[in-house]
Amino acid sequence: MKKLLREFFKGIGSENPIFRLILGLCPALAVSTSVVNGLGMGIAATFVLLGSNIIISLVRKSIPDQIRIPCFIVIIATFVTIVELMMKAYAPELSKSLGIFVPLIVVNCMVLGRAEAFACREGVLASTLDALGMGVGFTLALLLISAIRELLGNGTLLGFLILKSFDPVLYLVLAPGALLVIGLLIGGINFLSSKRRSA
């Protein structure tokens, strides 16, 4: 039980896909202009991760080793197509603002990375928890980045005006701002964790 819980929590903390493993960055930076987009992308990626991890760990014994990557990709692409169609049907606004980054979940290194590093070795329950933990960690990281960018770049949070007497820093909503925010965040987290280790 303790081991399973550890699989879940490592994705949020010590092996956070964005801040620690530096995986899955393209969507993290491109869609994090507002909290709503960040949350939508986080949930979509978590669903794909969960589905593909479960299926891959179920069929892991019958996939030959040489062609495992194409097999994984087909499974992942199936779930991405499901998400794409569902999002178009139930959240057309979100689907429009995420644009090509919804189909791009298929080449998100995080999803294939988890399939390769975890789901093809471990059982179903452990893989499910691993996917959930990684998904939650990814979503939280996206929320943090998008909250910073939306609050400082636009003065709003979830669309509500928060900072009234403040000139928004448009730079943060544009492309260079995303790179700066993530660079500072990763550096800051490295700094904090090295401090804790030495203390």
């Binding site: 530096i22 995986l23 960055l25 393209c26 930076l29 491109a30 990557i69 194409p70 990709i73 087909v74 692409a77 199936t78 991405v80 197509t81 794409e84 169609l85 090509i100 189909p103 791009l104 298929v106 080449v107 998100n108 290194c109 294939l112 730079y171 544009l174 492309a175 260079p176 701002g177 995303a178 790179l179 700066l180 993530i182 660079g183 500072l184 990763i186 550096g187 800051g188 490295n190 700094f191 090295s194």
Partner: protein, 202 residues
Amino acid sequence: MDLAMFLSVIIGAIFINNFILSKFLGLCSFIGISKETKPALYMGVSVTFVTTCASIITWAIYNFILAPFHIEYLRTISFILVIASFVQFVEIVIKKFSQALYRTLGIYLPLITVNCAVFGVAVLNSEMFFKRGINTLTSFTMSALQGFCVGLGYILVMLFMSGIRERLELCDIPKSFKDAPIAFIIASLMSMAFMGFSGFRF
């Protein structure tokens, strides 16, 4: 097919909408392989080759299979499968014909399968050039051209970045900002410089 349209695709793909700096596609490999100039250049060349060929192949699939049968929703799954098998095929061919080339490029090829830039350019082509009113010939040339220019833009930024990072090795950077964080901050400054290109109008 006029010249202005060609130019706007070329300049657009290399500078204005540079895949790495303004669309964030191919970031993982950009941060991972840009530590030295030589591997960065090799990676850039292989990416350019694959994006060009992938654009042509996915154009054929979209134009002759997906669009006529109205099964556009299978785009994601068919494109990624074709790209993955194409990369595998290239790897086998290179291994067979030139061991020297395989040793320099071989390790990058598997990485290209999951490089967002390759899949991204295929999806982008299918969204940009398949509107009603654009004839087949134009959409083909435009797709191939965009694939090639995206690769050129990728090489350009990889070379800039690896040049800067080679010099950074000698600098005194705070310990927690070494490697990835400082690379992101440099990329941010470069991206700001590239935003200057967005003033171009055609």
